[in-house]
């Protein structure tokens, strides 16, 4: 099986740590993951802001880049949902089979215990496009529950949007900030040290607000928690 990593433009540029963690994790599980350098962006920002033509160009570029792979793994629920849910609306043909990381681990590799160690109190935000777009369900929390040392605490109002929404966060700054304030209120109620999600764009928004408020809560991508082992934690 040929497996490619679609890192996503946001992770590639701003969160290389998530990509490294995903590669480390997949290799630890015996997957010879490849990285086609021609990849750039899935086109979600353009499409969702109203620039369909640009988005179609990027979507075609994406399908060409990942043609021939049996599976494309993306550490981003929203970019995976763009390919799977929105490309068909753009009449894109031969769409590669894209999985969010948790889907790939649970459905393809059939593992929930990835041998990770992370001795911290963690709460999980499911993110809208993973939850309602891809419908990943309990896969991420099933994975987290098997992490040694990790205490998973439920997040009140978990299924509610954090208010990121791509350019929405800038175009409707006040509503976005109000939504984030409520999300953060719920995060603080859990007493968790770490807020985990499978999408760094949402974490960029929530994490940026948490940091501005000097809340002391860290945000981490699911891949980074699943990649940590007892050796790496030392």
């Amino acid at each position: 099986m040929r497996v490619a990593l679609f890192i996503t433009c946001v992770n590639d540029t701003l969160f290389p740590g998530t990509g490294k963690a995903a590669v480390g994790l997949l290799r630890r599980l015996g997957v010879d993951v490849e990285f086609p350098l021609a990849q750039t962006c899935c086109g979600q920002m353009h499409l969702n802001t109203g620039y369909r033509d640009e988005a179609v160009k990027l979507a075609n570029r994406f399908t060409e880049t990942f043609a021939g792979y049996d599976a494309v793994v993306a550490p981003s629920g929203s970019c995976a949902a763009m390919v799977r849910e929105q490309y068909p609306h753009l009449d894109i043909e031969d769409i590669p089979k894209v999985y969010d990381l948790s889907e790939f681990l649970v459905d393809v590799l059939k593992v929930t215990d990835v041998g990770a160690y992370f001795p911290h109190k963690v709460t999980y935000h499911p993110t809208c496009h993973s939850l309602r777009g891809l419908k990943v369900g309990d896969r991420p929390t099933d994975l987290l529950k098997m992490v040694r040392g990790l205490e998973l605490v439920p997040l009140p109002g978990a299924e509610e949007c954090c208010g990121f929404g791509g350019t929405f966060a800038v175009k409707n700054r006040d509503v976005s900030a109000a939504m984030c304030a409520d999300k953060i209120g719920n995060v603080m109620k859990t007493g968790a040290e770490v807020l985990c999600a499978a999408d760094n764009s949402c974490l960029l928004h929530i994490g940026g607000t948490l940091r501005r408020q000097k809340s002391g809560v860290r945000v981490l991508h699911l891949a980074e928690i699943l990649a940590s082992t007892e050796e790496s934690a030392e």
Binding site: G19, P36, C128, C161, V175, R212, E224, S228
Partner: protein
């Protein structure tokens, strides 16, 4: 659409004001979360909800595809049953027809059943100009009308008001309100009842909308909770119903689906208290049906947007929308607020004003609306499609073109990332221009010195192949610290 919202600023500006109003935020949160919970509970009771939803969607799509045929059938059946059918191209024509019909009766007062269509066309204002006073008889509509206010929710138009405000309003504006009126819901309802009872008994003309029209029999259907509708539909001598052309259902049997979908989605009840159905006119009474287009035909012509015409005005999408919950209904500048309003208003009114252009962007595309919609309107997809048709700001266009140029070659992306990596210490804490919207409430992330792709290549990973040196899982303790 109603002229009352004309000249309102764009959505973000209205919403910015609304989010500062703590009383409004509290009222809206409490109300929407309560109805949301009730809806989830009664929907969860039905094992075949997914099938019902699919059936609702299919029936509506079939009707819309054959709308011309069903409309003519409706006209024929209503006429056969002694009613008169009028066709209104737009709001002005519909208002003219209704005003003329009322004048022909010689009356100057009418009672109204809660109706979205008549609010859409601004009927009350149009009638007032002709010297005809319209009395809203739905409790919440009455509250809105007494307060010279705008509705802020499809189902609960006075959702933005609390009971203390309603008491004040009744004492000030409602004739015959008892001096010792308390703000107990029961007392408020009783005062309104007594006031409305007088209106019902005096009224000679009633105006309604309809939830459904059955083409097969020419029957109109109204679902309601308070019984005021039943009063208006039966007591007055003349009944005028203004109904959007998309409200048709082919056959009586189709109600089986919609009488389950609507109450559960709307009020979170298994069944609504009152369902009134009538066909034509009873002896001694008069019935007029005004079939309203007002932009619907052009919506029907749009391949993506036409699904909005499936809407049965249940408002489940409003009650789950995180944006509606914070921005409130008035921010949408239309009688149709919330997610459905964000796709319906720009299609019905066009996108010529800053407000109407901003509506497709009044969503984080979280998808909660689509999930609860009883007729499976893919609201996020329609929003995205409308965004593609909206006029974009010049600076944004330039930015998007630049981003597209960079993303079209991976080498350009790599160069841009390296440039960003070198400049990372120079990025200000507060960004200028429209991007200040990001840094007003959020810190920027630390920009990494090296992008993922550069790391991959440095580690010896050729194009598409794994790095020669297996990377270790990174250290979470080190990641993203300040």
């Amino acid at each position: 659409m109603s002229g009352t919202f004309v000249g309102m600023p764009a959505f973000p500006k209205n919403a910015a004001k609304a989010v500062q109003n703590s009383q409004l935020r509290f009222n809206l949160r409490k109300a929407t979360h309560t109805i949301r919970g009730k809806r989830a509970a009664v929907v969860g009771e039905l094992d075949d909800w997914a099938e019902l939803r699919e059936a609702g969607k299919a029936i509506k799509d079939h009707t819309l595809r054959n709308l011309d045929r069903y409309l003519l059938q409706m006209e024929e059946k209503v006429t056969e049953a002694g009613g008169t059918v009028h066709w209104a191209r737009d709001a002005a024509e519909a208002n003219r027809i209704v005003a003329r019909l009322v004048k022909e009766t010689g009356e100057t007062e009418v009672v109204k059943v809660k109706s979205m269509a008549t609010m859409e066309i601004g009927l009350n204002e149009a009638l007032a100009e002709e010297g005809i006073e319209a009395f809203e008889t739905d409790l919440a509509e009455l509250i809105v009308q007494l307060g010279d206010d705008f509705p802020s929710h499809i189902l609960v138009p006075a959702i933005h008001r609390n009971r203390a405000e309603i008491r004040e309003l009744f004492l000030k504006k409602m004739a015959g309100a008892p001096k010792d009126l308390t703000d107990e819901p029961r007392a408020l309802a009783e005062a309104a009842r007594l006031y409305l009872r007088q209106r019902f008994l005096e009224a000679k003309v009633a105006i309604s909308g309809a939830n459904f029209m059955i083409a097969e029999t020419g029957t109109l259907v109204v679902l309601e909770s308070e019984g005021n509708g039943r009063m208006c539909l039966t007591l007055p001598k003349t009944l005028i119903s203004v109904v959007g052309i998309e409200k048709l259902l082919p056959a009586w049997q189709d109600l089986e689906v919609f009488l389950q979908l609507l109450p559960r989605s709307s009020t979170g009840e298994r069944m609504n208290p009152y369902t009134s159905m009538w066909t034509g006119a009873t002896e001694g009474q008069e019935f007029h049906l005004v079939l309203l287009d007002n932009g619907r035909t052009s919506v029907l012509a749009d391949k993506v947007g036409r699904q909005a015409l499936r809407c049965i005005r249940c408002s489940a999408c409003l009650n789950v929308c995180p944006v509606y919950e914070r921005a409130g209904g008035h921010s949408y500048g239309s009688v149709y607020p919330g997610p459905i309003g964000a796709i319906l208003t720009p299609q019905l009114r066009g996108m010529d004003t800053p407000l109407d252009r901003s509506l497709p962007y009044a969503s984080s595309l979280c998808g909660a609306c689509y999930e609860v919609c009883p007729v499976a309107i893919d609201i996020p997809s329609v929003l995205v499609d409308l965004r593609g048709k909206a006029r974009h700001p010049r600076t944004e266009k330039a930015g998007m073109a630049a981003a597209g140029w960079v993303f079209n070659r991976s080498k350009r992306l790599a160069k841009a990332q390296r440039f960003g990596g070198r400049m990372r210490r120079l990025v200000p804490k507060r960004l200028p221009g429209p991007l200040s919207g990001w840094t007003d409430t959020r810190d920027l992330p630390d920009i990494p010195a090296e992008s993922f792709r550069d790391w991959w290549v440095r580690e010896g990973g050729a194009d598409g192949r794994r790095p020669a040196v297996p990377p270790v899982g990174n250290l979470p303790q080190e990641s993203r610290k300040k």
